[in-house]
Amino acid sequence: MMRYDRQIQLDSIGVSGQEKLQKASVLIVGVGGLGCPAAQYLAGAGVGRIGLMDHDRVSLSNLHRQILFTEADIGRPKAFVAAEKLGGLNSEIQIDTIEEALTITNAETIFRSYDIILDGTDNFEIKYLINDACILTGKTWVYASIFKNEGQLSVFNFQDGPSYRCLFPKTTRENISCEATGVLGVTAGLLGVLQAVEVLKLILGIGEVLAGKLKVLNSLSGQYQVLKITKRPEEIDQIYKSGIQPVKLECKLADESRIYLDIREEFEQPKLDSEKVIKIPLSQLDERLWEIPKEEEVLVFCQSGKRSRKIVDLLNSEYGFKNLKNVEGGIDNIISKESEANHSNASKTERI
């Protein structure tokens, strides 16, 4: 117990608190900018069993915020590398690695074997999936999300409290990740550490859990607000009634007579399925350049028009393309407004 001496000294923890930590289990879904710092503090504090779930591999652009990883880890599976590092930090705890993506099929089974779920993910589909699976398995989850210098934090499904669907019953089409917008490493770290604080409070039964409230903070201004979330029982009942509700956002092209190139990554929404749309995610573009037609004009788009503008400039100037044109303003400007108007309904009613 020497290891934990400095925290056992706290009246709010003591030996009994340390035993609670030892008996607790936490699943971290997504070992990235949020999950890395959270995992480090939870391992350090002596949380008895930590599950690390991530199917991704370490890349160079992760290192500025995913501080468990080093240059030597590039290309290696995140869950595995993180487990190695955390094992070095605290050999007295059990660390599970789950090198899988969270899906509708595996979510409930995996969640059942942990006390608390920590959300370190970066897209809406998975956040709704975590939410629904937590409702069905009766687990509390600690949520955080980032947009540039701003962060959101809350604890959902705690003691019959509100869920993520109570906060955001309607999903957005703007699935913007840190990869797409940019983020300061410390902003992600700040939120990840705050998530770890909430987990410790939940395990120890101390302090005030941020349930039924959303903390919104800005790392640059230093300001934060705490907003009260109203429970929407109908949203929660719907999950009990029909199970996990996949979030699936689709839309249609406004003009089917043109050829389009979608350079968004596979997780980005809304999906735009049409034989007129060639899909090559930016991350695969190098190997798949030959798939882009050279004879007719191709309209290249992404979410906002920023990434696609860079790619169009690059391909036209250095790869001999003369037929590529950027869709300024992104996908919003090529989809049918009819489907846009129906969109909010679609995302709510498309319950499979």
Binding site: D122, F124, A144, L167, V183, L191, N218, K228
Partner: protein, 78 residues
């Protein structure tokens, strides 16, 4: 009546500011005000934007003098 309006995330980007003080007609409803701001700033994906009045997230209510109204879009990054 005067209200204090705060914008977060992409709403702040669309509005080009994080805060402003506005003069509204007495008895204005939150729903009407939200629609007006959505139109004025072309707020993206407005259906997903939630509004808090005096730190309470609500769907609609009558606004009163001095209210603090926050526009909150969902964030996804992590």
């Amino acid at each position: 009546m005067k209200v204090n309006v705060k914008y977060f995330g992409q709403v702040a980007e669309a509005a080009g500011k994080t805060e402003e003080k506005l003069e509204l007609e007495k008895g204005a409803s939150l729903k009407e005000f939200k629609l007006k701001q959505i139109k004025q700033y072309q707020i993206p994906d407005p259906d997903s934007v939630q509004i808090a009045v005096n730190q309470d997230l609500v769907d609609d209510k009558e606004l009163t003098e001095g209210d603090e109204i926050a526009f909150l879009p969902p964030f996804a990054g992590g």
